[in-house]
């Protein structure tokens, strides 16, 4: 998945400035930068979550393989099946654990027969199966915060997307749940391209292959994790990762 010379405006405000970036398959890319630098906005452009904001305007090209995401002919439903998203706060639907996953499958008209099997597989991949296998009929909101977030990841995974976008998935969780999710991200990497927004430098170091540093709507530096955290080229990046500002 890639963006090419992409600009995004909210009304007259120029939020993202001339961003070009390319996410490789089976890699975890972290987007880092101080609050308000546009990293979440960038992330949300990759599955067209800005479509509902009437004053958002996007220029440039965003592609998933050869598919132009913002081409009028592209099916939104299809795009969102191929690009899954996990949000900052766990947002399970007001349904049971099982229905949270089957809902996604039903929208995309998966054959009814395959659904239980697909759900089991997704829950296993999300390290949640052992904890919930006996209570799939329980309301999802009764799970703990960390479990809810893993359920949300399972809900994204169950559709077999190509890319999973994660918007600070651990910021509302305790350290133990955070570790579990990080472990999960590393295991999902073998099947998916993962782009994650994070505020946590240690987390970025633990899980990413590549790191993109953004500042005031611009992509300052994008490189391998070791390069960014060891000897970044730009002074701004060095200052940020060393905690001089943020």
């Amino acid at each position: 998945m890639s963006a090419h010379e992409m600009n995004l405006y909210f009304g007259r405000k120029h939020i993202l400035k001339n961003i070009s970036i390319d996410f490789k398959k089976n890699e975890v890319t972290s987007l880092i930068g101080p609050s308000g630098c546009g990293k979440s906005t960038l992330l949300r452009s990759f599955n067209r979550m800005h479509d509902l904001s009437p004053d958002a305007k996007i220029e440039g090209l965003i592609k998933l393989d050869s598919l132009d995401l913002y081409d009028k002919k592209s099916s939104l439903t299809d795009i969102r099946k191929r690009v899954g998203m996990v949000f900052q706060k766990p947002n399970p639907l007001p349904k049971t654990i099982f229905e949270n996953l089957s809902y996604a499958l039903n929208i995309h008209r998966f054959p009814k027969k395959e659904i239980p099997e697909l759900i089991e597989k997704a829950l296993k991949e999300s390290y949640l199966w052992d904890e919930v296998k006996d209570e799939l009929d329980k309301p999802a909101v009764k799970l703990s915060g960390g479990q809810q977030q893993r359920l949300c990841i399972a809900r994204a995974v169950v559709l077999r997307p190509e890319v999973i976008l994660m918007d600070e998935p651990c910021s509302a969780l305790d350290p133990i749940s955070t570790l579990k999710i990080e472990e999960l991200i590393l295991s999902l990497k073998k099947d998916y391209t993962i782009v994650i927004v994070t505020h946590n430098m240690q987390q970025a170091q633990r899980i990413s292959d590549k790191v993109a540093f953004m500042y005031l709507g611009e992509l300052i530096e994008f490189d391998a994790r070791k390069k960014i955290f060891g000897h970044a080229e730009k002074e701004l990046t060095r200052n940020y990762v060393n905690g001089h500002f943020g």
Partner: protein, 286 residues
């Protein structure tokens, strides 16, 4: 010292006002219950009025009010909820949407007698529905619409945005999101609003006065083009229009008691739903 006195004064003022309000409410309720209860019996709610309404019960008025409320519901709920969904989920913030919203708020403030006259002009005369339970139900439906719209919109606003994003990000269309998640999550709030609105509408007299309520009917026909008896009008009539008012006074009190009980039951249901929802909200807050 002066501070202390002022503090005490404020306290007395606030608590005094509260007690005063409760006192009035208590007096009214006590008056109605004490004078209505002796006349209230199983026969009272299952029998027709007899001997020029000096004896018997109020069955036709109960049936009439029930049927009327039913028609009001059918008319006001689907349109009201649909309108609220449009305003809250689809309409972009614009001058037009704001004008619509302001108009609806204003409609809620129009005196009910005006709805009655409007219903007479539109349903009874222009649409030739005659004075009937249908005309009256439609008129009450109009009266209820602004309340249904406003309370539904409030309930929709309380649905966290993350919930909408969750389904949209799965590839659901906006319509699917609203149908499967937003409405489901908002349903306790919507239901509460509807019940409170209906309990208010059931007690209205002015809007049905010209549109279909009858002084007395001696048969129960559940047909839409017939006139009907209704509890609030029956009460009004027993209390002011009857030739031997003193004699029917106990019946009037008992009618008032039945009406209050009906409204009380509806409100308790609404209260219960709201209580359940609050518990659920606290569990799954996000």
């Amino acid at each position: 010292m002066i501070k202390k006195i002022r503090y005490l004064g404020n306290w007395v003022l606030l608590v005094g006002s509260t007690i005063l309000v409760c006192l009035f409410l208590g007096i009214i309720l006590f008056d109605i219950v004490s004078k209505g209860l002796p006349a209230l019996s199983w026969g009272f709610i299952t029998k027709f009025p007899q001997k020029g309404m000096t004896q018997g019960g109020i069955l036709p008025a109960i049936i009439g009010t029930t049927l009327l409320t039913f028609i009001t519901t059918i008319f006001s709920v689907p349109f009201g909820v649909a309108c609220a969904v449009y305003l809250n989920e689809y309409a972009k913030p614009s001058l037009l949407a704001n004008i619509i919203r302001a108009s609806i708020r204003n409609l809620a403030g129009i005196p009910s007698i005006i709805y009655g006259l409007f219903g007479l002009a539109l349903f009874v005369q222009a649409l030739r529905l005659g004075t009937s339970v249908l005309s009256a139900g439609l008129t009450l439906g109009l009266l209820s619409l602004p309340y249904v719209i406003t309370t539904t919109e409030e309930a929709l606003k309380r649905v966290p945005n993350g919930m909408r994003e969750a389904t949209l990000a799965l590839g659901a269309t906006q319509f699917e999101t609203i149908r499967d998640v937003v409405l489901r999550r908002a349903s306790p709030g919507i239901l509460t609003g509807i019940i409170l609105t209906l309990s208010r509408a059931a007690g209205e007299t002015a809007p049905i006065l010209f549109t279909g309520v009858a002084f007395y009917i001696n048969s129960v026909t559940v047909s839409l083009n017939q006139e009907f008896m209704a509890l609030p009008y029956h009460l009004y009539m027993l209390a002011t229009q009857h030739q031997s008012i003193e004699q029917v006074r106990p019946l009037a009190y008992a009618t008032a008691l039945v009406l209050i009980l009906l409204v009380f039951i509806l409100n308790s249901i609404a209260f219960f739903i709201r209580y359940k929802q609050r518990a659920q909200d606290e569990y799954g807050r996000n």
